[in-house]
């Protein structure tokens, strides 16, 4: 049967199919690279325990205010109030902590009338702290030690932070959760609050690997273009070679659509075959690279990963590109004049 005689011109078609295969292998390989990076990142972040999250309203901690009674989140957490204020002419951040569930495992409440200075800014003596909203005089004689808060924030009692920032009398600046579940996370986000998972390396890696995945369009577009070009030249050669056959088909009554279908089917088969070959080559190459690099490079956690998704993308892109590439030569072939073709 004529349409399925794919390899009538033997070597030429075989080479072209193989070429399309290489192109698809390129797409599959690039995806495998990005997927591998993602998988590696997941593996790395999997080594860190998720240790909770920082929850705040709006864009930053300084301006954030959360009405805890209104949002009604029952899970145990640490509530922190912060205020910016001047001390001896320098602006510092002062904070107070409410930790009813003792999640911090330490008492971060200074004695009445006292404050605890940050290790990096060990102020001493009776100090008057002034903010836009008010002032308070506190005695500083010690520093506090905590790995949770910056070493240049000063710790005060909640009633003193309220004097510096009245809104904190019934609100909280931000909350720290020491454990986080997916349902809790989504309920917090549903209340319009911002959430940053801790430690930060999770978010960094995930967002970073996503960027790499997003870069893949740069691979797919040129590869698809080349697939289109390959199919174009294949079909163009084919229609040229078969000009007389097409003319005869037309003489015996075939219409343009029928002619087009025959070659469209051929283009489809060519792309499909190429895609399948390409995916197989891609998987083999990816596997080979992964294996060889883990042999050559000790302790390599990196590998290439071919996923169903990437195979599907490669397949669809190739077939679409192939069909697109075939349109022009098929159009010309189906609209060619019988007389011209026969002479």
């Amino acid at each position: 049967m004529l349409p399925l005689e794919l390899f009538r011109y033997g070597t030429r078609m075989k080479v072209l199919t193989f070429a399309i295969g290489i192109c698809v292998a390129f797409i599959v390989g690039s995806f495998a690279f990005a997927n591998g990076l993602n998988a590696t990142v997941q593996e790395i972040t999997g080594k860190f325990e998720k240790e909770g999250a920082l929850v705040y309203a709006g864009d930053n901690l300084t301006s954030s205010l959360i009405d805890e009674s209104a949002i009604a989140i029952g899970s145990p957490h640490i509530s922190v109030g912060i205020a910016e204020a001047l001390l001896n002419g320098t602006s510092y951040v002062f904070f107070a902590v409410k930790d009813p569930a003792n999640l911090l495992g330490q008492d971060l409440v200074p004695s009445p009338g006292e404050m605890l200075a940050g290790k990096d800014v060990p102020v001493r003596g009776y100090l008057t702290i002034t903010s836009v909203e008010g002032s308070v005089t506190l005695f500083a004689n010690h520093t506090y030690s905590s790995t949770m808060f910056p070493t240049y924030w000063h710790l005060v009692r909640w009633e003193d932070i309220v004097k510096l920032r009245q809104a904190l009398s019934n609100r909280t600046s931000f909350m720290i959760f020491t454990s986080m579940t997916d349902s809790l996370e989504s309920s917090i986000k549903a209340k319009g609050l911002s959430l940053q998972p801790m430690p930060g390396i999770f978010g960094y890696f995930n967002a970073g690997a996503n960027q790499v995945t997003n870069d893949l369009w740069l691979i797919i577009i040129p590869s698809s273009f080349i697939v289109a070009m390959l199919v174009y030249s294949a079909i163009a050669m084919e229609t040229k070679d078969r000009a007389k056959e097409i003319a005869i088909l037309k003489t015996i009554g075939a219409n343009n659509g029928q002619i087009a279908r025959i070659f469209m089917f051929q283009a489809f088969m060519l792309s499909l075959l190429g895609a399948i070959i390409g995916i197989v080559i891609g998987i083999i190459i990816s596997y080979a690279i992964s294996t060889s690099s883990s042999v050559v490079i000790e302790n390599s956690l990196f590998y290439l990963k071919v996923t169903e998704y990437s195979m599907l993308v490669a397949l669809v892109c190739t077939i679409l590109a192939g069909m697109l590439g075939a349109i022009w030569p098929i159009y010309r072939a189906s609209h060619q004049k019988v007389r011209e073709a026969m002479t």
Binding site: V80, T151, M198, P199, Y204, I226, M229, K240, F302
Partner: protein
């Protein structure tokens, strides 16, 4: 009508090749951009990065922050910026945080502050313009941060924006304190130190895999020796590289012009060799001893030793009574009594000392000062002044006073012995006793009780040595003398100190660009393998793309080839024709393709949309690769046309033999269509 030049290949054939080359050039430059991304993160080409030796990545690197301080003291370093990396996410974007000392950082980075000011407070930060754009923040905003590897919270207030040519434009620059809080790093450590300066020199210092040597601790046990005595000179040579090696070491007395040692020493990795040599000094004066090591890092240390002739010390009373005899003792410089030394008593008489170095003087001397001069062989003479008084003028009391302290020698090395002689005399006319107290640097050193007759003297001798360098002042009554104790080892020059302390702690790399990859335990080699594989695949498919379009074109013109063959064109003539046409076509095609590719890469660069781990990937154009790609493209065009043309010509000729007229008029496919084949 076609021109003969494009008889077989139409001009438009090159479009496919040009487009393929555009894509190939852009793809390759993107791949190269990805592979060099980590380098751009670490700064410009002339910035070197010091990481701790053997650390897997910039992140596991831990460096003593003092390294940066010491580097700055050395003239071969212009700027040294200690830095700590932390990581966070904000508004869905990965944020790389770099803790720095702003002054040094700005100099190393050569960053330009495009708005705002430099941070002053510990919570203030700068942000790169590109990151600011992605996060949609500006000066005055605050960014909440969480600990990178553990629970912690902090907030950075943006006070300025900076622009750089390196990856720093994609980062948040905070104080060292803030970044330490985020990664829980001890206050004396940083992740890396980035340096600028004499890179040739620095790369020699920080290359752990090569043997490198330093000489140090040049020592002589004595500060002062007499002529012709032998001193033991010692020098340490250390190989602080990770490989065994040989170094030439020279030790020389520059005053005597004598080379004590000049030869190659083989020293195993991380080993120290102690060189000990005996040196006999002949000429008096200050001798300069110079130690020098050659090789990668030439260094020299020098020290001096004082050589003098042996000398005499005269021990005599400060004051003597007229008409009574007194005793004088002569010692040599080692405090041994000297026998048969001559003593000139004020030019009045010359007396000789006995076996115990003593000499009894019982001359009638006038009231006043008398100078005693002792001489013996080639020893330097010793002198003492004695005041002759009338005994009736002496006070009627016991008056025991320390009148002199001598230190022999006056300058010593650590652990070298010195003799402290404390002279006291009863200046009164009554016998009696007193406790003499000697202080060393204001602290009690010794207390001795002494009973003396009128004008009798007593000398207390102490042998002292000290284990640390510094001045030691001996005081008793109103007399004081200072003994200088010098370090046994010659002070190592700044460079040597630096090498000894940090020479084996860090490794320096201009392209230590593994931040992202090794973060994920992916070595750069992995990435290179992958990127090279992708590049090869890309090149292969460009080959197919280009060759298929050329083959198609030749195929289209098979009839012309057939005609040419039939009218007698030889294979050679045909090849030349195809070759010439392909070349003429492909050269402008390749040039256009390259220009297009470079333009495309530039557009990708401009868009700043190609991102990886919070950093913009800038496609890189390598002239070598570009030229190779163009040459390859031309070769593919020509090659594929030749192959197609020649194989086609063969086919056509065969058919021509079968039926020349029919073939020439109607082409070959009709026969196939009619099923005659």
């Amino acid at each position: 009508m076609r021109s003969p030049a494009s008889l077989l290949l139409r001009r438009r054939t090159i479009i496919a090749a040009t487009l393929s080359l555009v894509i190939f050039t852009a793809t390759i430059s993107v791949l190269m951009g990805i592979s060099s991304l980590p380098k751009t993160m670490l700064g410009n080409a002339d910035v070197y990065v010091i990481t701790s030796k053997g650390s897997e990545s910039v992140l596991t690197s831990r460096i003593d922050v003092q390294l940066a301080e010491m580097l700055l003291e050395n003239r071969f370093v212009t700027n040294a910026s200690p830095e700590i990396f932390a990581f966070a996410e904000y508004r869905g974007e990965p944020v790389t945080i770099r803790g720095v000392e702003f002054g040094q950082f700005m100099s190393v980075e050569r960053a330009v502050l495009v708005s705002g000011r430099l941070p002053q407070g510990l919570s203030e930060a700068l942000i790169g313009t590109r990151l600011a754009k992605r996060l949609n923040v500006e000066t005055g905003d605050s960014i909440p941060l969480v600990g990178s590897y553990s629970r912690a919270v902090a907030e950075a207030r943006l006070v300025g924006m900076l622009e750089t040519t390196s990856g720093v434009g994609d980062e948040l620059i905070v104080s060292l304190n803030l970044s330490r809080d985020l990664v829980r790093m001890p206050s004396n450590q940083v992740s890396i130190v980035r340096v600028t300066g004499d890179m040739e020199f620095l790369s020699k210092v920080f290359a752990p895999n090569t043997p490198r040597f330093s000489i140090f601790d040049l020592s002589i046990p004595k500060k002062e020796v007499v002529v012709n005595s032998t001193v033991q000179v010692s020098l340490k040579v250390k190989n602080w590289g990770d490989a065994d090696g040989t170094v030439r070491v020279l030790l020389r007395d520059n005053t005597d012009k004598v080379t004590l040692f000049d030869s190659n020493l083989s020293i195993a990795a991380s080993q120290t060799v102690i060189l000990t040599l005996n040196h006999t000094v002949s000429r008096p004066g200050n001798h300069s001893l110079l130690a020098r090591c050659f090789g990668l890092l030439p260094q020299s240390i020098s020290t001096t030793i004082t050589v003098r002739n042996p000398y005499l010390i005269v021990v005599a009373p400060e004051r003597v009574a007229q008409f009574s005899s007194f005793s004088v003792t002569v010692f040599d410089n080692r405090m041994s009594p000297v026998e048969n030394a001559s003593i000139d008593v004020g030019g009045r008489a010359t007396l000789r000392t006995n076996a115990s170095g003593q000499c009894e003087i019982s001359l009638t001397l006038p009231v006043g000062d008398i100078e005693l001069i002792a001489e013996y062989q080639d020893f330097e003479g010793g002198t003492a002044t004695v005041e002759v008084v009338n005994s009736s003028s002496l006070p009627q009391e016991v008056d025991i006073q320390v009148y002199k302290i001598t230190l022999t020698p006056a300058i010593v090395k650590v652990r070298e012995n010195a003799t402290v002689a404390v002279f006291c005399q009863n200046f009164g006319n009554v016998s009696g006793s007193r406790t003499i107290t000697i202080y060393l640097n204001g602290n009690l050193f010794s207390q001795r009780s002494v009973y003396l007759n009128p004008l009798q003297i007593k000398v207390f001798y102490y042998n002292v040595s000290f284990t640390t360098a510094g001045d030691r002042t001996f005081t008793s009554d109103s007399v004081s003398e200072t003994l200088r104790v010098e370090s046994l080892y010659q002070l190592n020059p700044g460079l040597v100190q630096f090498l000894l302390r940090f020479g084996n702690t860090g490794s320096l790399d201009p392209s230590r660009g593994d931040l992202i990859y090794t973060t994920a335990k992916i070595s750069e080699a992995n990435i290179v393998i992958v990127l090279v594989s992708l590049a090869i695949l890309s090149a292969t498919l460009v080959t197919f793309g280009v060759s298929s379009s050329f083959m198609k074109e030749i195929n289209n013109n098979m009839r012309i080839i057939g005609i040419l063959r039939s009218i007698g064109a030889s294979s050679r003539q045909l090849s030349w024709m195809i070759f010439r046409q392909a070349i003429l076509l492909s050269i402008p095609g390749a040039v256009l393709g390259l220009l297009g590719g470079i333009l495309l890469a530039y557009l990708i660069s401009l868009s700043e949309r190609l991102l990886a781990f919070g950093h913009v990937v800038y496609p890189m154009i390598d002239p070598g690769v570009v030229v190779a790609a163009a040459a390859g493209c031309i070769a593919i065009c020509v090659g594929s046309s030749l192959i197609a043309g020649l194989s086609a010509s063969r086919r056509v000729t065969i058919r021509m033999i079968r039926g020349t007229r029919e073939e020439a008029l109607e082409g070959p496919t009709l026969r196939e269509l009619l099923g005659e084949e």
